[in-house]
């Protein structure tokens, strides 16, 4: 590749961030169910993917899909009981689930306990950065099409008013579990890529802070907005490196930027903005009717 490896590495960090943020956006942004345990699905994807590469040597695309599927299955199993809870209760439940997953990986021999796993380079000829960025693009497109689909509109209806959605004939529990599964699938894919990019994973990498990082990306970008999740991940991924010239003031400025953004844009960078609509309006071709509907 023509881009220098340093930029490549930052782009990869951002790409993985985008995949994770899109995943969380589906359940938290679109469906309105706060999950504080998405790092758990990331770790399930990371460890299952890593093990498939180490033990079975499967082709990389299969490994990534399997990592996502494992996380999705786990999400459906755990989602069935806990998604009946709402708000704070659900958040605490997902938090607990994430801790359980971490402790399980810390005690399994197959995941090498607290030593973690060293992941060999994946069995593929496609450069990893390219795979990550292509996956980020695919996941974002999938996210956007879910948002515009009947399923996506049902999710947003649940977010806005669960009772009204149920009255309109939406099977709320079923939709929530499906959204949770899709969301975890993306987190699993992100985790699997993370494992192969870094080459070493440890259960402690996927703690509460990782979940909060994901949430920060989604909230910063704008809850429910697909381009917002991209922008949020890009911002949080690039800022620490762009601010590097500030040496020890770096994290201070980084924190101040987050605070300022939340003060001036409480809905996130792209919250409440329909990019398509925005572009049309710029071109002076806005139809009054579509604006009125928004």
């Amino acid at each position: 590749m023509l881009i220098d490896p340093y930029i490549q590495q930052i782009l990869v960090t951002i790409g993985i961030g985008i995949i994770l943020a899109q995943g969380l956006n589906i359940i938290t942004g679109l469906t309105g169910q706060l999950s504080l345990g998405h790092a758990a699905f990331m770790s399930i994807g990371a460890f299952s993917g890593a093990l498939l590469t180490i033990k079975a040597g499967l082709p990389f695309p299969l490994v990534v899909l399997a990592g996502g599927m494992t996380a999705a299955v786990a999400a459906v199993l755990v989602g069935w009981p806990i998604l009946r809870l709402t708000g704070d209760y659900l958040a605490i439940c997902t938090l607990g689930f994430a801790e359980i997953v971490k402790v399980v990986f810390l005690n399994l021999d197959i995941t090498n306990r607290a030593f973690g796993l060293t992941v060999p380079p994946p069995a593929t000829s496609v450069p990893l950065p390219l795979t990550v960025l292509a996956s980020a693009l695919l996941v974002s497109l999938a996210s956007q099409s879910i948002r515009c689909s009947r399923f996506g509109r049902a999710l947003m209806a649940i977010r806005d008013d669960e009772i009204a959605a149920a009255a309109a004939g939406i099977d709320v529990a079923r939709h929530k579990v499906r959204a949770f599964g899709v969301s975890a699938f993306m987190a699993g894919v992100g985790g699997c890529l993370y494992a192969h990019v870094l080459g070493y994973i440890n259960p402690s990498d996927f703690g509460f802070l990782k979940s909060v990082d994901m949430l920060a990306m989604v909230v910063l970008g704008g809850l429910g907005s697909v381009p917002g999740a991209v922008l949020g991940a890009a911002f949080l991924g690039a800022a620490p490196e762009l601010l590097r010239f500030m040496a020890s003031y770096r994290m201070l400025v980084y924190g101040a930027m987050l605070v300022a953004l939340m003060v001036f844009r409480p809905d996130g960078l792209l919250g409440g903005i329909n990019l398509w609509d925005f572009a049309l309006r710029r071109l002076g071709r806005t139809s009054q009717r579509t604006r009125g509907e928004n």
Binding site: D4, Y6, A114
Partner: protein, 390 residues
């Protein structure tokens, strides 16, 4: 207003990106080729949870570089330390490693002091054919990553047999309670090393207890330990849990001291533990006490520079730069492809943190081992135990 803000933020981001991307157009000089300095990168955390490992390492490195430069540098070139903070984050460590090898064209990366980030950085250094010397990583699976990967710290697998010999012969300890923190990779590894070291010796583990990092209540484990009347409690975890465990042990009337690795050598251990940790024994690769020769000079200079006594990471960072410089001199080259062979042949290097020999498998052997005891609320050097160099 809000739209203007969005556009403004977008513009700032875009500008920042462009500024960041612009640099990549600079022509790349091959590693070790350009400039009249030799660049050695510092990899470690200067902020965050593990900054206490990174900061002294960097201080030590700078001291060594200044001394070498004052004496004319290496092969007529000055040593330049390239520093950056990775916050103890693996993804930042990876990005920085790429920056060091592709933009800064360093010949060697010194760090990371922790095993986890070392394992992320090592494949990048190996692929770019840049030497990596970790001053601190003690876990398994680091130097195995490739033939450019080294470390200069006293390994537990090297130190433990010597320590166990000392505990058995000099202190007459034969019955141990072993306490492991099973969500801590360092603790898990150290306990395993302890088990390996006592094999074939007249030593028994009478109680084998598990705790977790973050636990506060150890009454159940201590009750079990008390029933077995051990001579000592071997604790492989970190200072916070160690201090709380000893408090509970003293409360329940256990007189046996705690023995542990560098995990329980921290001021927090003394502050939290108070009287309960009196008599505790920790072993380390370095102690500023009873220093002789070059180590004494190093200790005095470090104190003058920072106002504090150096501890292990400062000494190892200092030694790391000196070991690299010595290898470059022996190889008459600053090309990592050439001097790594000389580095692998380091024998009996007189470092300030002990004598260093690098084995054919690139693992270091160091001597001596410093055994510290807590006396009057301070760590006091009890003895220096020589380690067999083979």
């Amino acid at each position: 207003m809000s739209r203007i803000a969005t556009v403004a933020v977008g513009c700032v981001l875009a500008a920042a990106f462009l500024a960041g991307c612009h640099k990549k157009e600079e022509p790349r000089t091959p590693a070790a080729g350009g400039g009249d300095t030799v660049k050695i990168a510092f990899m470690g955390a200067l902020t965050g949870d593990v900054a206490m490992f990174g900061k002294p390492t960097l201080e030590g490195m700078k001291m060594a570089a200044e001394e070498i430069n004052a004496g004319g540098g290496v092969l007529g070139r000055k040593i330049e330390i390239v520093e950056a903070d990775n916050r103890g984050d693996k993804q930042e460590g990876a990005a920085l490693a790429q920056k060091f090898v592709s933009r800064d064209n360093v010949v060697a990366i010194l760090g990371d002091p922790t095993t986890g980030i070392s394992k992320v950085v090592a494949p990048i250094a190996q692929k770019a054919q840049v030497v990596m010397l970790s001053a601190g990583a003690t876990g398994p699976g680091v130097v195995e990553i490739g033939d450019y990967i080294f470390r200069d710290t006293l390994l537990d697998s090297v130190a433990m047999p010597a320590l166990v010999d000392y505990l058995v012969k000099n202190l007459k300890f034969t019955r141990f309670a072993l306490v492991t923190s099973d969500n801590n990779d360092y603790s898990f590894g150290l306990s395993q090393t302890f088990r390996d070291a006592i094999k074939g010796k007249n030593v028994r583990i009478v109680a084998d207890e598990k705790i977790k990092d973050g636990d506060k209540d150890f009454s159940a484990q201590v009750t079990n330990i008390k029933a077995m009347k051990p001579d000592a409690i071997f604790f492989s975890g970190y200072y916070t849990e160690g201090a709380l465990l000893m408090k509970e042990a003293r409360k329940q009337g256990i007189k046996a001291p705690m023995v542990g690795g560098d995990g329980i050598s921290a001021s927090t251990f003394l502050e939290l533990g108070g009287d309960a940790v009196e008599g505790s024994i920790a072993y380390l690769g370095f102690s500023p006490e009873q220093a002789t020769g070059e180590t004494a000079t190093f200790v005095a200079n470090y104190k003058k520079r920072t106002g504090e006594l150096p501890e292990m990471f400062g000494a190892q960072g200092y030694d790391g730069v000196k070991i690299l410089a010595a290898a470059m001199k022996r190889a008459s080259s600053i090309d990592p492809k050439v001097f790594r062979t000389a580095l692998a042949q380091t024998r009996n290097f007189p470092g300030v943190s002990g004598t260093v020999t690098i084995r054919p498998n690139r693992e270091p052997v160091k001597s001596p081992l410093c055994v510290l005891e807590v006396k009057g609320g301070k760590y006091v050097l009890k003895t220096k135990v020589p380690v067999k160099m083979d």
